[in-house]
Symmetry: C2
Subunit: 423 residues, 2 copies
Amino acid sequence: LNLELINTGSELMLGRVLNTHQQWLCRQLTALGYEVARQVTVGDTALAIQAAVCAALAEADVIIVTGGLGPTADDRTREVIAALLGRRLVLDGTVLAAIERFYAARGRPVLESTKAQAMVPEGGIVLPNSVGTAPGLIIEAAPNPWRPAQRPSLLVMLPGPPRELYPMFAAQVAPLLQKKFPPESVYASRVLKTTGLGESMIEERIAGALASLTKNGLDLGYCARVGEVEIRLSARGSAAQEMVGQAAQIVCDRLGPCIFATNDESLETVVVRLLTERRQTLAIAESCTGGYIAHRITNVSGASAVFLGGWVTYSNEAKQRFLGVPEEIIAAHGAVSEPTARAMAEGARRQQGADYALAVTGIAGPTGGTTAKPVGTVYIALATAEGIRLQHQVNHFDRENFKQATAQQALELLRQTLISSYK
Amino acid sequence: LNLELINTGSELMLGRVLNTHQQWLCRQLTALGYEVARQVTVGDTALAIQAAVCAALAEADVIIVTGGLGPTADDRTREVIAALLGRRLVLDGTVLAAIERFYAARGRPVLESTKAQAMVPEGGIVLPNSVGTAPGLIIEAAPNPWRPAQRPSLLVMLPGPPRELYPMFAAQVAPLLQKKFPPESVYASRVLKTTGLGESMIEERIAGALASLTKNGLDLGYCARVGEVEIRLSARGSAAQEMVGQAAQIVCDRLGPCIFATNDESLETVVVRLLTERRQTLAIAESCTGGYIAHRITNVSGASAVFLGGWVTYSNEAKQRFLGVPEEIIAAHGAVSEPTARAMAEGARRQQGADYALAVTGIAGPTGGTTAKPVGTVYIALATAEGIRLQHQVNHFDRENFKQATAQQALELLRQTLISSYK
C-alpha cells in the first residue's frame, strides 16, 4: 500500500508552527501496520495544494490531507480537491444541523463563514466531527487513466486542529482503512530507549552482534536526542515478530541498565511507575531547571500518588528559607556547588517527608558562567533513606536543551537508584 | 527562487520523532526573504531519498536536505546524492583531522565508522561542523538537460542533530544563499499573537476592515493553538512594508488588549519583560500545572531578575504547610476551589515577599472529576499589593493541553494586570 500524507498550511511553510500532525499520523499508521512512503507540506495556496495532490494521485493508493477545512478564507482544501476531482460542492443538511447544535450549546451565534463547512463534495463520505465544526471528508478518485492497472486513490481530508483530527482519525478513518486495506504483511517493531551513551558507542556495542539478523532483513535505526538515544528494531514478513524479539534480547544483553524503556514509556513515566510499584514518594527542589522536572513528572497521569511536591528556588534566599540550605554553605561554595545541591536535596526530603528528593542547581546560561564554573555546569543530588548520591555535569547546550539534558540526568539518577534498590 | 526542503529519516516516517527541522529552517529562510515552496519527508532508504531528490531537481533552484550524514549504517544521504549526481566520494584530510581533534579533546577513540564522515563528494563544498563530526556539503548539480533554460540546482546537505544543523546553517549556508540568490522582491510579514478569542471571532472582527488591503495583495492567515491564535499579515513587492504596517494597525485597533505580542515574543517573554521594566517580582504556586508555569517563565533568559521562586504543591498537606492555606478552607471548599486558590496566592506572595503571586489549582484529569467540579475545572488567583484577582475556567482538554491552556490563562491574567497598572 502506497500511503502519502499532505499537510497544508502556510503557517507550516513560514515556520510559525511545528508539524505535529506528521508525527501523530505516522505513529498511528505504523501501529496499524502501514508504512508511510512520503510526507509533503505545502502552503495554503490553491496552486500548491493542487500540485501536491496531483503528484500524490500518480503514486499513492491512500492520500491523507490535513488542514484547510476550517471557516476562514485561507481554508481552501475542500474547494481545491473538489475542483480537481470534478465534484460539485453541495450543502449537507446533517452537517449544517450539527454546526447549529454546536453553537447553540455554547450560546454563540452561527457565523456565515462557519456555514461553509457544511458544503461537501458530491459523492463524498462525511466524517462527523465530535468536538468541532469542520467535518472530515473522503473521496474515491476516479480510476487514473495513466495507470489503469492500479486501484483508484482514496483521498481522506481531515481538519487541522489536533483535538478534532485525533479522535476523527482513530474512530472513523483507522477502521475504514483496516477494512479496505488489510495490512499486506506482518510488521513488527520495537523501540528501546537508552540514556547515558552516544549513538556511535551504541552502534559499536550492538551492530556486530545484530549483523546476522540485519542481513536477514532486520531494520536497525538510531535516533539521537538530547540525553536520549532510541534504538529502533523492525522487520516485515512471517518471521518479523521473532526476529525483532531476538534482536531486542541481544541489545538488552549488550546495553543492560542503559536501557530505560523497551516500549514507548518516557523516562518520567518509568520513574513514576517504579515509585508507584514501591509505594515510595518523591520531592523535587529545582534551581536551574526552573520547574521542568516537576512538569515532566506531573505530565504522567497518576503522578499525584507518588509526587508530594516541589520547589523552584531560583534565589539564594529561597534556597535558605524554604529548603534550609545553610547560608554558610552558599557563602563558602556558591549556589552552584555540590554542597548546595546536597543541602537542597536533604532539605526537600526532610520538609516533605519523602522517600526520595531530587535537587539540581546549575547555570543554564546564556550568562552567569565563570572560568571555574562555565555555563552548563550542573550539580545533581538525590537524597534517600540510605544517604546521598551526587553527580556533576557540564551540559554544553542552549537554555532549553540544558534543561532537557539536566532533567534526563536527574531522572536517570533516580531510576538507577530505584532499580538497584530492587536487588 | 524555488526552494525545497527534504528531511530524511525513518524515525520521522515512523512517527518516532517530531520534525523540528522543518519549522526551524522554514523560519530562517522566511526571515532571509525566501519562500519555501515545498517540504518533503522520506525514510532512510536509498530509493526514497533518490526519488525525492530527483523530483526536487526537476523543480527547485535550491534543495536543502537534512539528515543521513552521521556515522551509523542508516546514514545514506551522502552516498545516495553523490551517486545520483555522478560524483566520487574522496577522503578529505582536513575533515578527518577535525574529527580526530574532536575525539582527542574528549579523550575518546575515533571509531572506524566515524571516519566515513570524512568522505566527501568530488567538487563539493565542505561546511565545517563546529560542534560535531559530520560536515555539511554543498554540490552544484550539472545543468538539467530537461530544462536547460533554468539555472542548475544547488544541493545543500546538512547534518540532522539540531545543535549541529543550526549554527552551520546560520553561519555558513545563510550567507552563501544571500550572496548567490539575493531575494527577488521585498517581503514583509508581521505576526500578531492573541489570547482569549477564537479564530472565527477574530476573523469576524477584522476581515471586513482588511478587505481592501487583501484585495491589493495582503496575505491574511490565522493559526489557532491551545489558548492562542496567531494572525499573520504578509505581502510582497515595493509597497509590502507599508501595507503590512497599515494592516497591523487596523488589527490592533479592532482587537486591542487581546493582542499580547506584535512580534515573535511568547506570552512568558512578554510577562518577564513587563516585570523587568517595572522592577517587580513574581512568585508562583502551582497545583494542577505541576511546575509548567514556572518552567515557561524560567525558559526566558533573564527571568532570574524577576522570578523569586515557586512551589509545586500537589498534596493538600503541602498547600497547608508551605503556603499556609488554612486546613478549614480545604475542608470546607476542597483543594480545587476559589478560596484555596486565593489562599495559595496570598501565601506565596507573603512567603516570597513578591509583588505578584500567581496560584492555580484544578483537575488536570483524566481522573479526579466530579459532577460539581468536572475534569478541566481550574481556579486561578493573582495576589497583588492592591488585592486579589480571581478567575474560574473549565478547560476541556487532555492532560498536557489542559496545562497549556491553564498556563496561558494564568500568564494572561498577570499580563492584563501589569498593562492596566500602567495607566
